[in-house]
């Protein structure tokens, strides 16, 4: 096992810069997820760690060694590709044993290692088949198995679950996490799916437009996002944003929206009076107000998901989502009042998007 250090790494294609000086430290045994919208540079960064893309600036270290100019085969890494990249003309056994065969290991050792990996992944009955005869989930497991037999120092995953159907994705997600807990191999995992990131990661790196927006443990990012992008990206349904102006008033504070609605917010000391801000409240933090208190809202759409009711309401001229565990009989057009705990409110500067 080894740590991975990314030091001010840049990537340009000609004059087009796609990664702008990224710094990430992946500790030994850690499971780090790179997450972001498509085109944010997360896959490029992973491919740079693998040695499949050249590095335009900065350094990448695996262990304590700079690997910038070391070819992929000498980096001692294993990678699981999005489309699995199984060799179609080889049996599952040969697919999994290919790396050992290239290293000229004895036949008995190859067999032992492949069978061991096959047992972990329940692939033993399929070893004689070719990749074309397996289902998507099985192929995915073979791709994992190919990485497992290697005892590589770092595992790299490039959106490995995105070709699976929703149900299988959840199953494999748990399997990969369980596998990591067992093997403790340093892993870098790329995905655009924030739920995958939240559920699997020891730490999440949120990327956007070739820059790192925030790095931290999943719940830290969820509870205190550094800016509007991270706040909006993590969480499903995503955080509600309402624009307004901050006004302090004794020990209390409100944000006044354009239509005059006053939203109670914490009296943070860093915000100035009349400063344009964005109020962020997660859907699950909205509650029904009692006895005429709270902020008025009009029910727009009701979406029961079974476990919850997702309610879309019109509040201060914006469409806002609220999630309730209890089964309230809401009707479209109904007038309700919503309230929230002040400590659950996030405030962001309107101009920079940074957390206040």
């Amino acid at each position: 096992m080894a740590s991975v250090k990314i030091r001010n790494v840049e990537k340009s294609y000609g004059s087009l810069k796609v990664i702008h000086g990224v710094d990430i430290d992946v500790e030994d045994h850690e499971f780090v997820v790179l997450v972001g919208p498509s085109g944010c540079g997360k896959s490029t960064l992973l491919r740079m760690i693998a040695g499949l893309e050249t590095i335009s600036g900065g350094d990448i270290l695996i262990g304590d060694k700079v690997v910038n100019d070391i070819p992929p085969r000498d980096r001692d890494i294993a990678m699981v590709f999005q489309n699995y990249a199984l060799y179609p003309h080889m049996s599952i056994f040969d697919n999994m044993g290919f790396s050992l065969k290239l290293r000229k290991r004895p036949r008995s050792e190859i067999e032992e290692k492949v069978l061991e990996a096959a047992d972990i992944l329940n692939l033993r009955p399929y070893l004689g088949r070719s990749p074309g005869q397996l289902s998507g989930g099985q192929r995915q497991r073979v791709a994992m198995g190919r990485a497992l037999v290697r005892d590589a120092r770092v595992f790299l995953f490039d959106e490995p679950l995105s070709n699976l159907d929703a149900k299988l994705r959840v199953v494999m997600r748990t399997e990969i996490k369980a596998l990591h807990q067992r093997l403790q191999t340093t892993s870098v995992y790329v995905t655009h799916d924030q739920i995958e990131a939240m559920t699997m990661a020891d730490r999440i790196v949120v990327m956007n437009a070739g820059r790192v927006e925030q790095i931290g443990a999943p719940l830290d990012l969820y509870d205190s996002p550094a800016n509007l992008f991270v706040a909006g990206f993590l969480g499903s349904p995503s955080m509600n944003f309402i624009k307004g102006r901050f006004r302090r008033d004794g020990g209390r504070a409100h944000v006044f929206c354009d239509d005059g609605t006053a939203l109670p917010v914490p009296a943070v000391s860093d915000a100035a009076n009349d400063q344009p801000v964005v109020v962020g409240i997660r859907p699950e933090h909205l509650c029904l107000a009692k006895d005429g208190a709270g902020v008025a809202a009009t029910v727009d759409v009701v979406e029961p998901t079974g476990a919850n009711i997702e309610l879309f309401v019109e509040l201060a001229g914006e469409r806002v989502c609220a999630v309730f565990g209890e089964r309230h009989p809401f009707r479209p057009g109904e007038k309700i009042a919503l309230t929230w705990k002040l400590e659950k409110v996030h405030l962001f500067d309107s101009n920079s998007g940074d957390r206040i």
């Binding site: 499949l52 085969r73 489309n83 060799y87 790396s99």
Partner: protein, 276 residues
């Protein structure tokens, strides 16, 4: 009548004129090749004949030196195909995998060479071979056939190579393979269908080529099949048509059979890369 059968019959009715045009020369060739010599020119011409003479083939084989010409044709076709493939595979690989300056120009150049008829170039090629001292040498044909086929083979291989996912090679590199190793163990085995198709195409081109062979080869010992058969007709007082036709049957029918058997692969290969 079931609609499917009806459809088939209609299609065949439409196709039948084409079938007649394609098969007629073969029919004439065959009935001429197996009839006795004194029944060659009868009026009015007729399909039937009194005696089925397979012996014509044996006579022709000896008299026209067919075996040697067959060997020459095989030599030229096989070697030119191998040479074209050996040189095209790296070129096609580079075109499909790497970015380099002048890539677009190179591809256009390949296409342009296809627009020129070899007949236009035949005089220039002859002088080139004179300069190389290769006139009257089968290897001159190997070189020129390979060169003429390469534009097509590179183009064709490149479009197939582009359909082989890059991830497979990258996975092999990460598994510990060198570039060469991944090419040999992963890439080329997957490219076999395309290589087979281009090889067939190149072989048939070499097998059928006439003008260059007629120009470059002087001595009858080195004649390829088309030139050898032609020499049985051109500039003779008496043409032994039954031998000519027996030779033509032997030179075309085996290749025609192989070609029609392989044509589904050829068409599949040609359509490759058209739809991703």
């Amino acid at each position: 009548m079931p609609t499917k059968l009806k459809k088939s019959l209609i299609y065949w009715a439409f196709l039948s004129p084409l079938v007649v045009i394609i098969l007629f020369p073969f029919a004439v060739m065959f009935v001429t090749a197996v009839r006795p010599r004194d029944e060659l020119f009868v009026y009015p011409p007729r399909w039937g004949f009194s005696e089925f003479r397979w012996g014509n083939f044996a006579e022709m084989w000896v008299k026209t030196n067919f075996g040697e010409a067959l060997f020459n044709s095989l030599y030229v076709s096989v070697l030119s195909t191998v040479l074209a493939l050996v040189l095209s595979i790296p070129a096609a690989y580079a075109l499909s995998r790497y970015r380099f300056r002048g890539k677009g120009a190179y591809r256009t150049f390949l296409l342009m060479t296809q627009m020129m008829s070899p007949i236009v170039l035949v005089l220039g090629l002859f002088r080139l071979m004179v300069a190389f001292g290769m006139v009257d040498n089968l290897n001159s044909l190997v070189l020129t056939y390979a060169a003429f086929n390469m534009a097509f083979t590179i183009w064709m291989l490149q479009s197939y190579f582009s359909t082989i996912p890059r991830d497979l090679e990258e996975a092999a590199w990460i598994d510990g393979a060198s570039h060469l190793n991944s090419l040999i163990r992963i890439f080329l085995p997957l490219a076999v269908p395309a290589m087979a198709v281009t090889a067939i195409f190149s072989f048939i081109n070499g097998w059928n080529e006439f003008v260059l062979a007629l120009t470059m080869i002087r001595s009858s010992d080195d004649f390829t099949l088309p030139v050898q058969i032609y020499s049985q007709v051109a500039g003779r007082y008496q043409v032994e048509w039954h031998h000519v036709m027996a030779g033509t049957v032997l030179a075309t029918v085996p290749v025609a059979i192989v070609f029609s058997w392989l044509q589904k692969y050829l068409i599949r290969g040609m359509a490759l890369g058209a739809v991703k």
